[in-house]
Every structure is written in structure tokens, then in C-alpha cells.
Symmetry: C2
């Protein structure tokens, strides 16, 4: 059973993730977190000695949740279907949130890249892991003849990550899934994806 | 000749653009600006009654500068060459800054999309204008047989904007032009661009 302390920590991480995704790390204040959770200031600082540590813990937690989502989305009969299912899952999860908040990793990349190395390195490693995982699916799809084979799998994987981040940016600005959906549909044509 | 007031306003806009691009809008304080410019607080508030107004003025100025850069980059003998030249110019300008700061419009998109409608609308309009301009070049390149014609010009234009923003994000995280350069090179293959 979770202890009282664990429950408090969990609540802080969940609320902080929601607020940071929407407002950004810098604009999120300790008072915001106290107001949202009812957790006392002393208790907050007991679990997270600084706002930076809380921010990095939120990123770690978001990474674990994203990786779970990612592996679920990449489960299908053929590698080509895995890619299609992943594109659909990304559009669907962001549509459900009304395109509020966007991608916490992309947001952190643009907000913190030049401000704090630890945040930049975290997000860089996450995108690298994502690219490597997509690369393995693409390589398998190339073997199956479901994706063009004249370009390296890692190059195509990186193109997916860029389209994903650029697409979420445009969809979030317009609060409309069209740019992201169209981005993936066009990418499917570019990849010559059969699924 | 510029008045003293105009010179002060100009200096404020130039410095604010540099700091906001690097640190983000929220993390940029009035004290940062005073320290960077030596302009007195009263004078700053005379020119820009609020931080929001300064931020929007910085975006307008960045838009004007970007549009000038954009039109220069899009000047070449054939539409296909215009596209290649534009890709090279984007990599070059960001390499020169050491991939510090990235794209102020993309940064603002992710930082302010859900926080302030005026900022979101500004960036959305800018990306729309950029897409429309690229669309006209692509349509001409399609006429010339320099770009694949089986996908609509506006769809391809939007794909360029997404790759650009996603590519700048990755290059900025790694302080390395490779992701952006590779993104454009791959896009050229996808577009079947001949220039």
C-alpha cells in the first residue's frame, strides 16, 4: 500500500505535469502547485528540494508514460501497421486534450535548451531513444517491403520525429488536428508506407 | 534622422529579441532588459506600457526581419533553386548563431499557445503566410517539373514548415546542424526536388 508521503508525491507530480505542459516550466510557480494540490509548502519542498528537481522528476514520469503509450501504439501485426497505428494514436491523444499542452518534451526543448543543460540533455536522450525505436520498426518494414528502402531507416525515423513535433506545434496553435493529421498522411506517401 | 526616443526604442527591441529568443518570454524580466540596455525603467515603460506589448512588438519586428530573409532566400533562377537556397539559408543562419535561441516563432508557439491568444494568433498567422508563400514557389516548381506533382502544393508547403520547426528543435537541443541539414536533404528526396 502506498504511504501518505507516496500519495502526496504522486499527486504533486501529476498536477505539476498538467500545469507545466500548459504554462511551461518557468511560468509554473510553487504557488500554482500549492493551489492545485492543497499540499503544504513544507511538504512540497520535503519531496522536491527545488523547482528544478520537481521539473526533472515530471519529465522522468512523462517519459515513462510516453514510453508505455509508444510501445502500445507500436503493437500490430506488421511493422507497417505499427507505424500507421502510432500516427493515429498520436493524433488521437492530442485531439482528446483539445490540443492544449502539446508535447511536454518539445515544449521543454524550446523553453529550456539554452537555459538549463540537464533539461536539454534529458529531452535530447528521449528523442534519441524514440528515434532508435522507430528506426527498428522502419527497418523491419523495409524488410517486409512496406516502406521505401532507398533511404536509411534512421534518417526516416528522424523525419517522423520532426514531423511529429512540427505537426503538434501547428495543431496546438490552431486547436485543430488537421495540420498534424495531414503531416502524417503526407509522410505516409513520402515513406511509401503500405500497411 | 532618428530621435533619441526612436534610438532607445530600437535598442530595447533589438536586445529584447535576443534575450526572449534565448530565455523565452516568461523568463525574460524587465530587469534583464534594463541590465542589457542601460535604459531606465521609466523610459522602458514609456515606450512599452507592458511586457506583453513589448513582446508583441518584438514578434512584429522579428516577422519583418524574417520576411526580408525569406524573400532574399527565395530569389534564384528557378523555383526549384529557390527552395534549395531557402533550405541552405535556414541551416546557415542558425549555424551562425551556434543553434542558440532557435526560431522565436516556434519558441513562442510552444510557450504561449495556451497562455495568451494574441501571441498564438500572431504566430499562427505568420506560419500561414510562410506556408502560402512557399506554396506559390512549390506550385511554380511543379509547373517546371522540378517538384513531384502528385501532392498539392499547400500540403508540401506545410510539410516544409513542420520539418523546419522540428529540425530547428533537434539541432538546437544538440547544438549541431546535422538534424536540420539531414531533415532538409531527406525532404528534397521526398519532394523529388530538382534544382
Amino acid at each position: 500500500m502506498a504511504t501518505k508521503g507516496e500519495i502526496t508525491k504522486e499527486r504533486l507530480l501529476t498536477e505539476a505535469a498538467l500545469i507545466i505542459r500548459r504554462k511551461g516550466f518557468t511560468a509554473t510557480s510553487v504557488s500554482d502547485l500549492i493551489a492545485a494540490t492543497g499540499v503544504k509548502k513544507g511538504s512540497l519542498y520535503f519531496h522536491f528540494p527545488s523547482k528544478d528537481e520537481l521539473g526533472l522528476a515530471v519529465l522522468e514520469r512523462s517519459r515513462d508514460k510516453f514510453m508505455e503509450f509508444f510501445e502500445n501504439a507500436l503493437t500490430a501485426e506488421t511493422p507497417g501497421e505499427c507505424l500507421s497505428k502510432f500516427f493515429d494514436a498520436v493524433v488521437s491523444i492530442h485531439s482528446k486534450s483539445g490540443f492544449v499542452g502539446g508535447c511536454i518534451f518539445g515544449n521543454t526543448a524550446l523553453e529550456m535548451s539554452d537555459a538549463d543543460k540537464r533539461f536539454a540533455e534529458f529531452v535530447d536522450r528521449l528523442f534519441a531513444a524514440m528515434t532508435t525505436r522507430l528506426e527498428s520498426v522502419i527497418a523491419a518494414a523495409q524488410e517486409y517491403g512496406q516502406v521505401r528502402a532507398d533511404l536509411p531507416a534512421d534518417t526516416l525515423a528522424q523525419q517522423i520525429v520532426m514531423t511529429l513535433e512540427g505537426g503538434i506545434m501547428l495543431a496546438r496553435l490552431r486547436k485543430d488536428e488537421t495540420p498534424l493529421r495531414l503531416g502524417f498522411d503526407t509522410l505516409k506517401v513520402f515513406l511509401e508506407l503500405e500497411s
